[in-house]
């Protein structure tokens, strides 16, 4: 059976642009290159759909094209429909709310505890084995436990997000304190900083760039986990849309939800990366 012509043309065009982009200016490249990659990706998606589709000959002699896989266009139409009827906004807010609360709690507890555990050897010896023992357990393994404890409720999903971001954050904060150069701590001792001043003027600011890196990592994990958690532990949110649409055999909606999850993931990461530009932490990041 036949394939459409446009995906091939688009792929060829995309590759041509990428190969020829050397001559483009820096700022133009930043737009053109990712856009070309997106065009190629969508084209491949279209070809994959056409590869999987087949013609069904009915007993009356009519031929119908069965498309197994939702095409980019169908997905886009479904996305527009979800946007229009408000489900997209409602479920996105539900997911973001859970991530915000779970991630916020993890940061609010993980950063101070991590700083103290990084500073005090006794606290480190107490806390670190527990953290390192719990950290390798996938947050998904906690789903049954969470449901048992909190029921099929927001709290379940929030608990899972908390778990998934808490361990990277606390580990990041501990490591950050451990890697503070001696010369900074000596300066602090030389000028007689008290314990509270030491944390405020030296330990916290010195650890901040690495803490921000671990926050960025933790938010990425949290966003991965929220979808999985919502597929099982609650009945709203973008993860729930996927399970629900599959059960209703609405595959364009499954794909539409996936596209949304990806796009929001990009936005979240961009948001955290803005933190790296603050004057107080810029020194900790190579020019990026």
């Amino acid at each position: 059976m036949g394939y459409s012509l446009w995906p091939f043309l688009a792929i060829a065009g995309g590759i041509a642009v990428i190969l020829g982009s050397r001559r483009l200016g820096e700022s133009l490249q930043k737009v053109v290159l990712p856009l070309s990659a997106a065009v190629i990706g969508v084209s491949l998606w279209q070809l994959a759909c056409e590869f999987k589709s087949y013609e069904l000959r009915a007993p009356d002699g009519s031929v119908r094209l069965i498309e197994v896989f939702p095409t980019p266009w169908q997905t886009l139409v479904e996305l527009a429909r979800m946007l229009q009827d408000g489900t997209l906004l409602r479920y996105t807010i539900a997911s973001l709310y859970r991530v915000a609360v779970g991630f916020g709690l993890a940061a609010a507890i993980g950063i101070p505890v991590g700083l103290v555990a990084g500073w005090s050897t006794r606290a480190y010896r107490t806390i670190n084995p527990l953290v390192q023992g719990l950290r390798p357990i996938s947050p998904l393994a906690w789903i049954p436990v969470a449901i048992l404890w909190f029921g099929v409720e927001d709290a379940s999903a929030i608990f899972l997000i908390f778990l998934s971001s808490f361990f990277p954050i606390i580990t990041g904060a501990m490591t950050a304190v451990h890697s503070i150069p001696t010369v900074f701590l000596r300066s602090a001792r030389n000028f007689r900083l008290g314990r509270a001043e030491l944390f405020r003027y030296v330990v916290f600011p010195a650890a901040l760039p690495q803490i921000i890196t671990s926050l960025r990592m933790a938010l990425g994990i949290a966003w991965l986990v929220i979808v999985a958690a919502e597929m099982i532990a609650v009945q709203s949110g973008l993860g729930y849309v996927i399970t629900d649409a599959r059960n209703g055999n609405n595959y364009p909606r499954v794909l539409a939800a996936m596209v949304c999850i990806g796009l929001i993931g990009i936005v979240l990461d961009l948001g955290v990366r803005q933190l790296q530009k603050l004057d107080e932490v810029r020194w900790g990041f190579s020019k990026a």
Binding site: P181, V183, F184, R186, S187, R189, N190, F191, R192, E197, Y201, V202, P205, A206, L208, D279, E280, V281, R282, W283, G284
Partner: protein, 256 residues
């Protein structure tokens, strides 16, 4: 200050030894070092790496404890770091997360606001950083970073400034300018300086006395006074004579 104290050396190092215990054996970093430094004197500790000069400085600063002997400052034994003896490190101990202004303010937290401002402005002027108050260390050159470190150290009005190869990370031209700057500031502020270096010319240009140290175990080989007043003529006969003497003490050939 009482006249009895004026005759007393600012720093007295007596029978100082430091042994580092390593996994299998022990390393004698310092052995039986005696040294007296007068108030307002500029003393360079000169020697190859491993001669214990930094260890000596760390003990005077209170960052390390000796294995034997004692260090007295104004007749009092040193017990831990103190803002009256401020360190300037080679790797710039200044904080990259704080502006030039806030770095210099570090030791002045307990002063009233307007007093703080006055002191910071004075030292920014002294080290020639006017206009860079709001800059961050990553935005200024290595030499300027070290100026910040010097300003931060002096702002607490220390009696003694301990400099551990402060110019070691700078290129040779910047080093040259910075030496002149350090001399100018020292002549203006008249603090006591203990300055560690392995650069013979640096010691010769800066010091009132040069303490030449020999390695393993670290001990004082000789104390060489440099009588020439500042500014010193680098090519003068006296300069070359002392330089030759120093090279001899360090066991370095004068020809290459």
């Amino acid at each position: 200050m009482a006249s009895a104290q004026d005759s007393r050396p600012k720093v007295e190092v007596r029978g100082l030894s430091k042994v580092f215990s390593r996994r299998r054996d022990e390393l004698a970093a310092l052995q039986d070092v005696d040294l007296e430094v007068r108030a307002g004197e500029f003393v360079c500790l000169l020697g190859p790496s491993g001669c214990g000069k930094s260890t000596l400085l760390n003990i005077v600063g209170g960052f390390e404890t000796q294995s034997a002997g004692e260090v007295l400052v104004d007749g009092e034994p040193v017990a831990g770091p103190h803002p009256r003896r401020v360190f300037v490190f080679q790797e710039y101990g200044i904080f990259p997360w704080a502006s030039v202004w806030d770095n210099i303010a570090l030791g002045l937290r307990h002063l009233p606001q307007d007093e703080q401002r006055r002191v910071i402005e004075h030292y920014i002027e002294l080290v020639g950083l006017r206009g860079f108050e709001r800059s961050y260390p990553s935005e200024i050159s290595g030499g300027m970073k070290q100026r910040v470190a010097v300003a931060r150290a002096l702002a607490v009005k220390p009696d003694i400034v301990l400099m551990d190869e402060p110019l070691g990370a700078l290129d040779s031209l910047t080093r040259h300018t910075m030496r002149a700057e350090i001399l100018r500031i020292w002549q203006q502020e008249r603090m006591t300086v203990l300055f560690v270096t392995h650069d013979v010319d640096e010691a010769l240009q800066l010091a009132d006395r040069i303490v030449v140290m020999s390695p393993r175990p670290g001990r004082i080989a000789r104390i060489v006074p440099v009588e020439a007043p500042h500014p010193r003529e680098i090519g003068s006969r006296e300069y070359v004579r002392v330089k030759t003497e120093l090279y001899g003490l360090l066991g370095v050939s004068r020809t290459i």
